[in-house]
Amino acid sequence: MKVKRLAAALFLVLAMMVNIVGCGGGDNAAKDAGGDKEKIFVFARSGDASGLDPINVTDGESLYVTQQIFDTLLEYADDSTDLQPGLATEWESAKDGKEWTLKLREGVKFHDGTPFNAEAVKFNFDRWRDEKHPNHQGDFSYYTYMFGGFPGIIQDVAAVDEYTVKFVLTQPQAPFLANLAMATFGISSPEAVKQHGEDYFKNPVGTGPFKFVKWEKDQQVVVEKNAAYWGEKAKVDKIVFRTIPDNSARLMELQSGTIDGMIGLNPDDVETIKNDANLQLLMRPSMNVGYLAMNTEKDFLKEQKIRQAINHAVNKQALIDAFYAGLAKPAKNPMPPSLWGYNDEVKGYEYDPAKAKALLAEAGYPDGFETTLWAMPVARPYMPQPKEIAQAIQQDLAKVGITTKIVTYDWQTYIEKGENAEHDLYLFGWTGDNGDPDNFLYVLLDKSNTVKGSAGNVAFYKNDRVSSLLVDAQKESDQSKRDKLYKDAQVLINEDAPWVPLVHSTPPIAAKKSISGWLPHATGTECFVGVDKAE
């Protein structure tokens, strides 16, 4: 019958479509065009880079790429935030830390062939800090965060000779060197910046182990091995940074083998990876802290004993098991253990509702009290399910008699109200920038950061002894002395208990078993120079 023939035609069309496409076979395509034995490391994440000029980006998606293309003056060690030589080989300070002189690596060339030298360093810093610089195009946000605006604390950068550069600061900044190691302060080729102007973010040129090849928006960024790299050369020929927005789709690609590694896993998928013989799970050391800030200016929360009681009341391990898929460590200090200066001697407050009740009674509230518990509206690595976490804490507190009402606002309002001290108990968190303890303790708990409207210290915690320790540590350039100062500060902070430090989350990373040499770094991005792929 006609209709049958029609139906047959319909299915034929379908079958043909599948066939045309199917006949390629799974692996042929890659081999057909891939050419000889090029080693390509395919890395996937959820979003595309927003730009490839490291100073003008703030997102990990972009920094992951720029980290491969650019070197910084100092570098972090592979497995810690300790500093080591990068483009600068030696450094020394003078005048109480107001002057830094850096010796630069000789014989280094940018990918465009121009030489790297003191003039190039000066050009970069001048471009970043001077709003009138002809190539000051963009936000330069991270420059303002780390150095305090334009020009900020960097008063002058001088090329002393071909390979010596001198920084003059308006005031000492202890984490100055740590800042220089941040991926965002990668050194660009002055010629390339001048040549491309506003479009430099599409044509990055650095000195790093990989050279920029191409960027197809929302699809992929390709970099290739820099055969003339000054350090140990890259082991793979190319890295392709692919954008696969959906977490499940990305994992499926990893399982089917079209990508080699990925970040951004659903917590539920961790088990899947553990059970897959072809895959491995890597853990990024934590450089964050999720915490419950207690507004020390409010009734009840003014009382140290009550704050300590709340600390005893919260079951951190239960939170980690329930909401972090076990991929976090309970926190006792306001900074993560991967940072130097972390005080492991501090005991913290163990989960003990009975003790919490006793403390409440001591404080004069044996029957507890009522307050509000603020929950973030957005998920962050340190707070994957803020509402659910708030509910769990609410139940914990109820067990010791503290009744809480959960409050939430949109993200901007949440931040603004927090900075304005309108809250009682406030869930929040912080991800470190430069791996310096100052970047946690001073920013989050110093009394100078309690100005209403722009407070970073949302517990409004003001302890003069802590503050003097933190300020001293900023002025000190001897790291062992700084280490001691921060450890002391943590003891005091622990006692005062302005926060309930909740967790340090360790974001999981998945890769094929055949990938080696991938060392996830606490800062959130790492260089893939050591990454290799077994065939």
Partner: protein, 334 residues
């Protein structure tokens, strides 16, 4: 005809003004400070102020709107505040991807939808009819992200027949000419790339096609049922024509007008970018551009993007209206 088109184009002016006002206001209605959203949680007050100044956010709304329209009239669609590229460039870079996907999806939807609808109508209440209409109902109601993931799991992961994401495999190179990869690979005679492009195109276009396919099938069926009752169909049979000729030449042609309307609307919708499909299949199209721009409060991209998408939509509708007069000679465009 020319007069009609000119009239329609003039009629677009109030539409565009309306859309531009909505696009402009929309971003101001979203809670939160755009400057803060752009610069991040840690921006200093000083930096925020200078950005507000730079974007003119401190001016009264009507001044901002006037500036916005003034720039557009000069053909300046602004620059993205996130990437700093011209908005028009951001769009141009992604438009071919969306267009290619939409056209492929539309082709599938039209071929399958019309065939299924025709067979259903000719064989009303048959098993095929029941199955395909229930299928159409399911097609309309299936969540695309679920369908997309299932397809990826089956065709890419389990069977390895198709590729799950992006437009080309890593390692396949293709010289972009038009940025429509199917065309480019044909032009350059790059068969490996063509094959690879198709392998990537099939799943997202099928996923995207499900809803229009279902809608077209249902519309075709009801329209065909209507037409098949008409006397001229009996006339055609009385002439001694073959059944297929009667169905496709006489009946379908007459049933086509409402189908064309649906097709136009669906295609217009697809052209706006299919956020979910583009996300699941990592398709670098304008749906995702818009989605991310909204998430990042990228003012210029959102505002001008809405405007550009609306223009495309309106333009497609105009084309459909013009097509009407070709499909149905009784319609005179005046």
């Amino acid at each position: 005809m020319t007069r009609y088109i000119i009239k329609r184009l003039i009629g677009l002016i109030p539409v565009i003004i309306g859309v531009s006002i909505i696009a402009f206001l929309l971003i101001h209605l979203i809670p939160g400070d755009p400057a803060r959203a752009i610069l991040g949680e840690r921006a200093t007050e000083q930096a925020l102020n200078s950005l507000r100044e730079q974007l003119g956010l401190n001016d009264p709304l009507h001044v901002q709107y006037g500036r916005f329209m003034g720039q557009i009239l000069q053909g300046d669609f602004g620059r993205s505040v996130i990437t700093n590229s011209p908005v028009i460039e951001e769009f141009a870079a992604r438009f071919p991807a969306t267009l290619e996907l939409s056209v492929a999806a539309m082709l599938i939807a039209v071929v399958v939808g019309i065939l299924a609808g025709v067979i259903s109508a000719v064989r009303q209440y048959s098993v095929f009819d029941n199955v395909s209409m229930v299928g159409a109902l399911i097609g309309v109601s299936l969540p695309i992200f679920w369908l997309g993931l299932m397809m990826q799991w089956l065709f890419a992961f389990k069977l390895g027949l198709l590729d799950a994401s992006a437009r080309l495999s890593v390692g396949i190179s293709l010289d972009p000419i038009t940025n429509f990869y199917v065309l480019d690979s044909l032009i350059t005679g790059n068969w490996a790339a063509l094959k690879d492009t198709l392998r990537h195109l099939v799943m997202p276009s099928f996923a995207l096609a499900t809803i229009p396919m279902a809608i077209i099938a249902r519309m075709t069926r009801s329209s065909m049922l209507e037409v098949l009752k008409q006397d001229y169909i009996r006339t055609a049979r009385a002439k001694g024509l073959k059944n297929n000729t009667v169905i496709f030449k006489h009946a379908l042609k007459n049933a086509f007008l409402p189908i064309l309307t649906v097709m136009g609307l669906q295609f217009g919708t697809l052209m706006g970018g299919a956020v979910l499909t583009e996300t699941i299949f990592s398709w670098p199209g304008i749906g995702r551009l818009m989605y991310e721009a909204i998430m990042q409060r990228d003012f210029p991209v959102v505002q001008n993007g809405i405007l550009i998408i609306s223009l495309i939509f309106v333009f497609i509708n105009l084309i459909v209206d013009i097509l009407y007069s070709f499909v149905d000679p009784r319609i005179r465009l005046e």
